[in-house]
Symmetry: C2
Subunit: 223 residues, 2 copies
């Protein structure tokens, strides 16, 4: 409705999540692994961007990925082709990942052996926002095919992110994407966000995206 009771209980769940996330963040920091939480609409290209990111980074860094999905392990299978360790989190009807799911799926992983861990959240521009996963950086994707107005229509996710990665730039012309308008909209809800513009298909912007990740890791994270 939501009734006050539902709100209270939701706040309880969030505060429990925050507590677990804070424990995870300490664990990640001790291990020296830089953790990136990636959010977007379904079909915005999270898996495709990650495939290309893992492929490019794997020769130089120890990288791994956790992939959240309601159903199927298609994405995990795709990412595993990079040779990086990849694990699937099936969420059932849950429209976001939570810290306890991340903690459980990392239980037997040797985090000390990793430098970058990517968490691909469930495809959703609303639900994942409230759930801290202990990440050092939070990234939101905006596919050029989704339109320039999405940052204004889903402001909370863009407001809570450290970088906005525009994806599928190779389709920009076909959909008459107005990059300046999209970036102005993103800046309206989050003036401090880093802006990137990529195509995993052509490779455009991939170097800048990976450089951004490297610089964040060196500077010790954003959260």
């Amino acid at each position: 409705m939501p009734t006050p009771n539902l709100l209270e209980i939701r706040q309880g769940v969030l505060s429990k999540n925050d507590h677990l996330a804070s424990r995870l963040r300490q664990r990640f920091e001790r291990a020296g692994v830089f953790v990136v939480n990636i959010m977007s609409s379904p079909g915005a290209g999270k898996t495709r961007l990650l495939e290309e990111t893992l492929r490019r980074m794997a020769p130089r860094y120890r990288v791994a990925a956790l992939v959240g999905d309601l159903a199927t392990d298609n994405d995990a299978q795709r990412l595993a082709r990079s040779g990086a360790p990849v694990r699937q989190i099936e969420t059932g009807d849950l429209c976001h990942l939570e810290a306890h799911l991340v903690e459980r799926h990392l239980a037997d992983w040797d985090l000390d052996s990793l430098e970058f861990l990517f968490i691909e959240n469930v495809g959703n521009l609303v639900c994942p926002t409230g759930y801290d996963l202990g990440e050092a950086a939070r990234v939101v994707l905006l596919a050029v095919t989704e339109g320039e107005d999405k940052p204004l229509k889903y402001p909370s996710t863009f407001a809570a992110a450290d970088s906005a990665v525009q994806t599928k730039a190779d389709l920009a012309e076909a959909v008459e994407f107005d990059r300046a308008a999209a970036e102005a909209n993103i800046a309206l809800v989050n003036p401090d966000i880093a802006l990137l513009y990529t195509s995993a298909k052509t490779g455009a912007g991939m170097d800048e995206w990976i450089t951004w990740l490297e610089q964040c890791r060196v500077s010790g994270g954003l959260r």
Copy 2:
């Protein structure tokens, strides 16, 4: 977590919603208005499809639209250009519409004067599924740019829909969309669903989509 309490309360909210939705459905049926609940990811083209649908139907039918969004009334403004009555429902942080929101925003509308009412849900492939709005037909959109695997990854929304409208067909070649694979995936989670393939930009498939709506209305709805 979810804790049992949260589940219980969520079930309470859903059952209250079902009760209101059933009252709405009776009201719609008495008024003779055919109500369509449209769901999709953000940016899949709900507003664009509706713009073109209203434009084509308005000369022959009394049509109207209710538009749900977290923030902004951009979509309502776009749809209002068709000349049809359009009203915005701002949901704040709520990732779906609920029956009480629909009821409240329809309070002073003369439903008897309408033949078709389109409800554009919040852009989300997960949350809206559980919330009946009293609709006669439920439609899910799949943009060709989202990829063929989405029905398998978000099965609940596709399983609960009466038709799946593939959108942005004009981009199919650019993204190498495999229509047969997408339709096979949709059929796997919902063998009875009606399949449509459209481009609001070129007009392809729009006649078939409108014919589907007309036939459903004549046959008295699907729910």
